[in-house]
């Protein structure tokens, strides 16, 4: 093959690549994103927080909020989630939410787990207090947000999903809406499943919105997620919930598509 022909083929590949790249949707405007750092006395850690305001944010209105755990993770980053909320709000003709992304770079295993094991530090109670008494009040003082639990959504993946399940059982007054993505319900011999049984009677009347999503190829997660969905169906008649198993996806690769699916469910039903 001559050199000129090889160059022509290479140029074609570059053109095709640039064409598809140019078709990319617009990202969130950086001016919509506010970043700050907050220290928690409850956990002893510092957290970076990103607040993504709706495009048409108006301080004369109050907004609902979506709290996103692991917000720095590339597969579930705060600006990508904010992009989905923007699209879904337009699709369902409903007011967009303020996305509050919380970083978890340092103490994730401690903050999201309910007990102290080799795999986690059992600091979820401290982290819950951080949310309830430190972060949420700060967001409510700095931005025009609805202060009721009904207006709050929590999005967690993996151990973050486990933490969301913990909030559902033990702190259901904080959030009304839950996106539990690939929750690690296997943790500590299924401790959260045991908690759910123990506290079921007092939680039976709650009427939260719950979306549980997982990937087909993360079987250890599917086991717990299916069980969680079964319990919601059987023991929580007032909850509206949905279970979604994404085909041909594993743990990380299912996170973002399931977040999209969950946010669509949230906007459809809020």
């Amino acid at each position: 093959m001559t050199t000129i022909r090889k160059l022509l083929i290479f140029a074609c590949f570059i053109e095709v690549f640039l064409f598809f790249n140019s078709c990319k949707k617009d990202d969130i405007n950086p001016e919509q994103i506010k970043q700050f750092s907050i220290h928690s006395d409850n956990t002893g850690s510092d957290y970076t927080v990103w607040v993504v305001l709706p495009k048409d944010y108006n301080p004369d209105f109050t907004y609902e909020t979506a709290y996103l755990l692991d917000a720095q993770a590339n597969y579930l980053r705060y600006d990508k989630i904010a992009k989905i909320t923007e699209e879904q709000s337009l699709k369902y003709n409903k007011q967009n939410v303020i996305v509050v992304g919380i970083s978890s770079e340092n103490d994730r295993d401690r903050d999201f787990t309910p007990s102290n094991t080799e795999l986690g530090g059992g600091g979820s109670e401290g982290y819950s207090k951080f949310l309830e008494f430190e972060l949420i009040p700060k967001i409510e003082s700095d931005y025009r947000v609805d202060t009721t639990a009904k207006s709050r959504l929590i999005i967690g993946h993996s151990l973050g999903g486990l933490f969301a399940c913990n909030l559902f059982i033990n702190h259901s007054h904080l959030f009304h809406n839950y996106l539990m993505l690939s929750p690690s319900l296997w943790y500590d011999n299924g401790l959260l499943l045991q908690y759910e049984s123990d506290f079921r009677a007092q939680n039976a009347t709650i009427n939260n919105l719950v979306f549980v999503g997982c990937g087909e190829l993360e079987e250890s997660i599917v086991l717990g997620a299916q069980e969680w969905d079964y319990r919601l169906s059987t023991f929580y008649p007032n909850c509206i919930h949905s279970f979604y198993k994404l085909l041909n996806r594993s743990h990380v690769e299912s996170a973002f598509p399931n977040a999209e699916q969950g946010l669509a469910y949230y906007y459809e039903n809020k």
Partner: protein, 214 residues
């Protein structure tokens, strides 16, 4: 038995050996056969096709480890038959069986995973005599089976999850051979490209083993 197989030898050998002792004749025949065959074999080493020659054919057997999640991914055993079409360009038959049977204390689950790939490939290789590296695209099919069972089954309405899938397979094989004799050292890197949207977490693997030149 040797006498029945070589009646000519039976007539000639006593003349050479100047003996009619049957045991000695049999022993002499056996030793001669071994020497002749090994001599032929040694000569064959010098005439082995190089990795780039059109006559090159090989069979590689490798065992390895999953790349993304080594402690959970099935352990792969790979058999690759490769044959040159023209110098530096070859087709191959790719078979891989991955197994993992384990009781995991952290998950508190027992699980079995089987990942079986059959495919054909085509690609190019570089390196002639001692060292050769090949890149081949693999197309075929994959059978995937897994069964996960929670050990604390009392907590679960359904304590077992079974996944069974038959799906197309598309992959990329990087195959390195080192050695100029009939048996050589082989290592492989296999990247499973399908499903495309799960590419990060597909069962990519790295393996080591030996190859045999025909």
């Amino acid at each position: 038995m040797l006498n029945r197989l070589s009646p000519t030898l039976n007539k000639v050998l006593p003349i050479i050996m100047k003996t009619n002792n049957a045991f000695m004749l049999r022993l002499f025949t056996l030793i001669t056969t071994i020497l002749v065959v090994s001599n032929l074999t040694i000569k064959a080493q010098d005439t082995l096709p190089s990795y780039q020659s059109k006559a090159f054919k090989s069979l590689d057997l490798n065992c390895g480890i999953g790349i993304y999640s080594p402690t959970y991914a099935p352990v792969p055993l790979t058999l690759v038959y490769q044959q040159n079409i023209k110098p530096g360009f070859s087709w191959l038959v790719f078979s891989q069986l991955g197994l993992r049977f384990k009781t995991d204390p952290y998950l508190n689950m027992r699980y079995k995973t089987i990942n079986w790939i059959e495919g054909g490939g085509i690609g190019a290789s570089f390196g002639k005599k001692i060292f050769n590296i090949g890149v081949h695209a693999i197309v075929g099919g994959r059978f995937y089976f897994s069964e996960y069972t929670a050990r604390n089954s009392d907590l679960y309405n359904k304590p077992t999850v079974i996944t069974k899938k038959l799906m197309p397979e598309l992959g990329l094989l990087l195959n390195m051979k080192v050695g100029k004799k009939k048996i050589y050292f082989s290592s492989q890197l296999y990247a499973s490209l399908y499903p495309f949207k799960n590419i990060l977490e597909n069962f990519h693997n790295f393996s080591l083993g030996i190859g045999y030149k025909f």
